[in-house]
Subunit: 192 residues, 2 copies
């Protein structure tokens, strides 16, 4: 294989979840692109890197000062997420809230403390007309710790603080649910 | 989501086997790259598109006139493959043969006839010191038809023509083998 193809394969391997074989397929796909297609591909990458910055209100990605969501949506509920990509996931539901991106979770081992997250910016937003803060960090140790930390700061202000429910996935099989998930689903079982 | 991120997601979706969710992950990974990393990524794509051409001997990808393999390897066996990526797969085995890339398979529905493949170039190579031609096209209808077509052209020249063995995959489970594969494995069963 030529060295430039090898270099491209190595670059693709740096994308999340991409192994050698997948990286090879992507590299061959790029080689097979027409020059116009390849040029477009280069241009959109460049455009994203040049234009995408953080919304000054919520911290989501945006091309402009205030993001698409913050500039049009009126909501007294703020959903707090760790990363911008989490907003894309939550927007697939029917809920239409405002957002706040922390840009990480508390992780002492990685040197991420409260000052490295956008917590101060969140607290500043609470002086407005906010009725509820939904903490939508991941249901893992760091996500939980981050949610608990923020909840402690917000609750004294008399604002309702909630957390995503945890339990077995919709459409999944109880047989294959992991122990921790199943335990949590039982503890938080709902009365019908 | 901003329009430039959406455009990037759509570009990633054009890579083989990439759906919406994977494309989103890749786009967010690109956004999270440092400027230097992103620049390197752009450069290797550009380098590949600018430099990679076909080896004038075997048709494999190369940066120069004659590819890495053709310029150093002496072999009287030519392995015929449909696409350059197949060479990468075969090179992972211990066999070290010369190659010939057809750049496709016979596919009347797609308007691919013998003249659209590098068959003439293959025949021209057979005047040298060639003892065997291994036809390593895929074990599907088009791959089989292509192999049969080429075999018919080469055999009269007294050169040994072989085909990759077909059967159940190493390490696979007979229980899950598809009917066609299992039938083929039974028909071509080996005497111990």
């Amino acid at each position: 294989m030529t060295s430039s193809i090898k270099k491209l394969i190595n670059k693709f391997r740096k994308l999340p979840g991409v192994g050698q074989k997948t990286a090879e397929r992507y590299a061959f796909a790029v080689i097979s692109m027409s020059d116009i297609e390849a040029e477009e591909f280069l241009n959109v990458i460049r455009e994203v890197k040049d234009n995408v910055k953080f919304c000054i209100v919520c911290g989501n990605f945006t091309d402009v000062e205030v993001c698409d969501i913050c500039s049009v949506r009126q909501s007294d509920i703020i959903t707090v997420v760790a990363y911008p990509k989490d907003i894309a996931a939550i927007e697939k539901t029917h809920l239409r809230t405002a957002y706040h991106v922390l840009h990480g979770v508390l992780s002492p081992l990685d040197g991420k403390g409260p000052d490295n997250l956008r917590i101060k910016e969140l607290l500043e937003r609470l002086y407005g007309d906010v009725s509820e803060v939904i903490l939508a960090t991941n249901p893992d140790v760091e996500g939980e710790a981050t949610a608990m930390y923020i909840a402690k700061l917000i609750k004294p202000q008399g604002i309702k603080v909630t957390r995503l429910a945890q339990g077995i996935s919709m459409g999944s099989d109880i047989e294959y649910a992991d122990e921790a998930t199943l335990s949590r689903a039982l503890e938080t079982r709902v009365v019908l």
